[in-house]
Point group: C2
Chain length 211, copies 2
DNA sequence: GGTGCGATAGGTCGGACGGCCTATGGTCCG
DNA sequence: CGGACCATAGGCCGTCCGACCTATCGCACC
């Protein structure tokens, strides 16, 4: 689980991004800030693994805030202004990444994971390669070891198909097999019953998957 | 359920906002667009109840797109540039609302509900009053009639407390009472068991509530 | 060509769950 | 005051669930 603090002066951006990142299973937004001052305070108080920082902020800019903060927490600068000047300022202030606000959300998530893993993303030639190495969420041992069939059953659970006979009908297998898969799922996710498995499945985002 | 189409040229904003709004129980994002052209196509194809439109977009701006679209779908303009010029252009193009990107997310959700209800939000003096009338999500009959105790139990379910005896212990009531509440919850939400109730509880956002 | 693993399936069993009914005390409101 | 609603609680019953064990088939990897 990667703890993140986000700073952006547009509340709509700040709150939407916080909500969206928080719904990613391996990322948790522990605090948000609307200017550089709040960012510095939040970073000191919550000790996150990664900072996401906008440049344009009233009073203290993102760049200025980064200069005040110790370099022990990797910071990704996210900005509308992707000129070389801003880029160099960000780099000089200690940023490990510099992304445009045109970046797709999954790429930002990948950048957060990369930053948490100690990667540097200031080299544009390597950026794509670094991001692609961190595209998939780093799930905990249990969730990561789920088989395709088990994920399928979890997906159905998260979508409201909970009865054994319904699951068996949808999957064209016997009720017995459904129960076996469920038992394995309970083991891997360390839960006790369908209700808890459904909660966990939704946390993992399985309810959004199609087919 | 209010179907919405969002247009914004910054993918991070677009995708984050889509994710955040979609997680609100009475709002569904049916399509997103990165420029005015896509917005026009998406509006025609998906026939949403409300449009959320950024002004600054390449090729065809939000204002230009609104001018091309029939006025039968209410549009809310969301922009960084809140000058009188933009305001008047938006109004002339048929927008029913004009909000800054500094607007808090809950206010935007309220504006979406207001727009879906046919309200006009172009009068700044009435804006606060109109928004406050639409703050709470319009839940369907079942969810709206839940009692405090029932919501409490649903919240626990959504947070992974599923066993009758655990629920009884946490709430300091007998297991029998827990089962009675659950039976009433199943009725109101039209579900059959705890797993489905938990799924519904998360959809309603109860898992985020404290205490 | 084993060895391992996943998907399939069956049996048994005790306990948990959900459906249905009744009942009491409290609160709020007309 | 009476009615409506809620939280609390108990009983009964049939069904479903989860735990534990065994077993076969197919596929992939070495």
């Amino acid at each position: 689980m990667i703890d993140v603090v986000i700073a952006d002066d547009h509340r709509l951006m700040l709150e939407s991004l916080a909500e969206a990142l928080d719904s990613i299973p391996d990322i948790r937004v522990v605090a948000t800030a609307s200017d550089g001052r709040e960012l510095i305070d939040a970073a000191r108080e919550h000790r996150p693994r990664v900072l996401l920082v906008d440049i344009d902020m009233p009073q203290v800019t993102g760049i200025a805030a980064l200069r005040e903060l110790p370099g022990d927490v990797p910071a990704i600068v996210v900005t509308m202004h992707t000129g070389e000047t801003e880029r160099h300022q960000a780099q000089a202030a200690g940023a490990v990444g510099f992304l445009s606000k045109a970046t797709p959300l999954p790429d930002l998530a990948a950048a957060v994971r990369a930053a948490a893993a100690g990667e540097d993303m200031m080299n544009l030639d390597e950026l794509d390669e670094v991001l692609s190495r961190h595209r998939s969420p780093q799930l905990d041992a249990g969730a990561a070891s789920l088989t395709a069939r088990e994920r399928e059953i979890l997906r159905l659970l998260a979508q409201g198909v909970s009865a054994t006979d319904e699951l068996a009908d949808v999957l064209f297998i016997s009720q017995k097999t459904v129960k076996n898969h469920l038992a394995n799922i309970y083991d891997k996710l360390a839960v006790a019953d369908r209700a808890q498995a459904a909660v966990e499945a939704i946390r993992l985002g399985l309810h959004k998957e199609e087919r």
